[in-house]
């Protein structure tokens, strides 16, 4: 690790004042940033500990769930409202990392964790435009079994590693941000970027901006929601592909649906094309497969990850089948 100074923020205003220096990194549970600093991928001059900021989960008067950025992943999955009203969120969190890491990791930090592309981590021997802009992407022509099939660019084929973010994308969450130029909100699906020519930028956050909270809207049909993750071992592995979905059946037709995919792109992938085909239609396996095919029409497999296309199709069909069965 390169040397840095450490300060503990005692409030949001204090944090963003300290964070205005561009060489500053905000520190949550440390489960990603400490590793990145140890690998010298992250080299902040100053680390501002924001774990002392809001760790509250509250229900607002209009039925939203407000989640402070410093809430630990375990606490969010454990919360009774999340378990009852947003099972997709509880299940996504419980599918991620290990219990120890979930006890440490914060919600804000989960959103800002970086890709687990092995070339990104290989500081000694690999070119990576995300780590070193302009150096090239060794993953595009290398071992890319875990990489993106949707929305990638010649500059970067990395995927976003979070499970929780896939659920929050499906739930139409809102990200609350504060910074020296003021507070703002963003739809969750607009926080993370596709790589384009700037894969070094994971999100649209400006330097020094701090995520302060996430709100999840009331979505009564999300009681019928779930998260399915497919990985190389039964536990404690990143997703090859994952599906977060919520489904409502009204009078034999799909009244409403939300779908997001993980492990397939540089950001959690909201499956709007699939949703459009499903909405209003009579549920059937053929329909679910048609929806999956539509979402994957623009998929571009790399040398080693063509299997992900069929895997997403099968996983999505299975998840929708389970949710349709549960609501029948």
């Amino acid at each position: 690790m390169t040397p840095f100074t450490y300060a503990r923020a005692d409030g949001i205003a204090d944090a963003i004042t300290l964070g205005a220096d561009p060489a500053t990194a905000y520190l949550g549970g440390g489960t990603n940033l400490v590793d990145l600093m140890r690998e010298t991928i992250a080299r902040p001059d100053r680390v501002v500990d924001v774990t002392g900021l809001s760790a509250e989960i509250t229900e607002t008067e209009d039925g939203e769930l407000s989640i402070g950025a410093a809430v630990r992943n375990t606490a969010l999955a454990e919360h009774s409202v999340v378990r009852e009203r947003y099972p997709v969120l509880a299940r996504a969190i419980l599918a991620g990392a290990s219990p120890q890491i979930r006890n440490m990791a914060t919600v804000g930090g989960n959103l800002l964790q970086r890709t687990r592309c092995t070339y990104f981590y290989d500081t000694d021997g690999s070119n990576c435009n995300k780590r070193q802009p302009g150096s090239g992407c060794d993953a595009a022509g290398g071992f890319n079994r875990i990489h993106a099939i949707l929305g990638a660019s010649p500059a970067c084929v990395a995927t976003h590693p979070s499970d929780m973010c896939v659920a929050l994308t499906a739930l139409d969450a809102t990200v609350h941000i504060d910074g020296i130029s003021g507070a703002r909100t963003l739809p969750f699906a607009e926080l993370h970027r596709l790589p384009g020519d700037h894969p070094d930028r994971d999100t649209v956050l400006a330097p020094g901006e701090l995520i302060t909270a996430i709100t999840v809207p009331p979505m009564p049909f999300a009681t019928n929601s779930t998260y399915r993750k497919v990985r190389d071992r039964a536990s404690y592995a990143f997703a090859l592909v994952s599906v977060a979905a919520a489904l409502r059946i009204d009078d034999g037709r799909i009244g409403d649906v939300r779908i997001a995919l993980g492990g397939v792109a540089h950001k959690p992938w909201r499956a709007l094309k699939a949703e459009a085909i499903l909405r209003g239609a009579v549920p059937s396996e053929a329909l679910f497969r048609e929806a999956a095919l539509a979402e994957l029409a623009d998929a571009h497999p790399l040398r080693d990850n063509g299997f992900k296309i069929e895997l997403v199709k099968r996983t999505l069909v299975a998840v929708l089948g389970d949710l349709a069965g549960a609501s029948a």
Binding site: D35, I101, Y236
Partner: protein, 174 residues
């Protein structure tokens, strides 16, 4: 402000780069906590912070100022092994022993998580009372790897201890 390590006060390190793991091992010479991967993948460095299990390799020691940390050295009392330590011996819950301190600290944290009703990835009903089946124990202990392959003995040891807790035979492991 200091930290409490196994009941004794300790001043946090001056250099903020020092991980909690290195602080325990190199500064305090509490070498029971082991360094395996040093990147959060193996669980050998698991310790309890205010009763919650964490991996100390990804923790900056300065972040834990004011907190109470329990390591494997803090589990026995007056020379008597913690019930889980004894259960690991009884069930051959190790071969080389390197992962054992992390396994035991992790299992203690796991037990209190289950008691308060935290579900896991394999829990079918998110609102139901948690029953620590073998499948649940395997999932909940998946953050601790054993390269010797003693996992069956490890799960046996933990299962016996949590069963004993439920029936009141052994002392409370948490």
């Amino acid at each position: 402000m200091s930290m409490i390590i196994n009941g004794a006060a300790a001043e946090p390190p001056v250099d903020p780069r020092v991980s909690l793991l290195d602080f325990l091992r190199e500064h305090l010479h509490l070498t029971g906590t082991k360094k395996g991967c040093n990147q959060g993948a193996c669980g050998a460095c698991t310790v309890l912070v205010d009763g919650e299990r964490i991996v100390s390799c990804l923790a900056l020691a300065v972040q834990y100022t004011g907190r109470s940390i329990t390591t494997i050295e803090g589990l026995s009392s007056d020379g008597a092994l913690h019930p889980l330590q004894q259960a690991f011996i009884d069930h051959d819950g190790f071969q080389c022993g390197y992962c054992t301190p992390g396994q035991i600290c992790s299992a203690i944290g796991m037990s209190s998580e289950a008691k308060r009703g935290l579900p896991s990835h394999v829990t079918a009903d998110l609102s139901a009372f948690v029953t620590l089946t073998r499948e649940e124990l395997q999932e909940r202990m998946s953050g601790n790897l054993c390269r010797c392959g003693a996992h069956n003995g490890i799960i046996d040891a933990i299962a016996q201890t949590v069963d004993a807790e439920r029936t009141g035979v052994a002392e409370d492991v948490a």
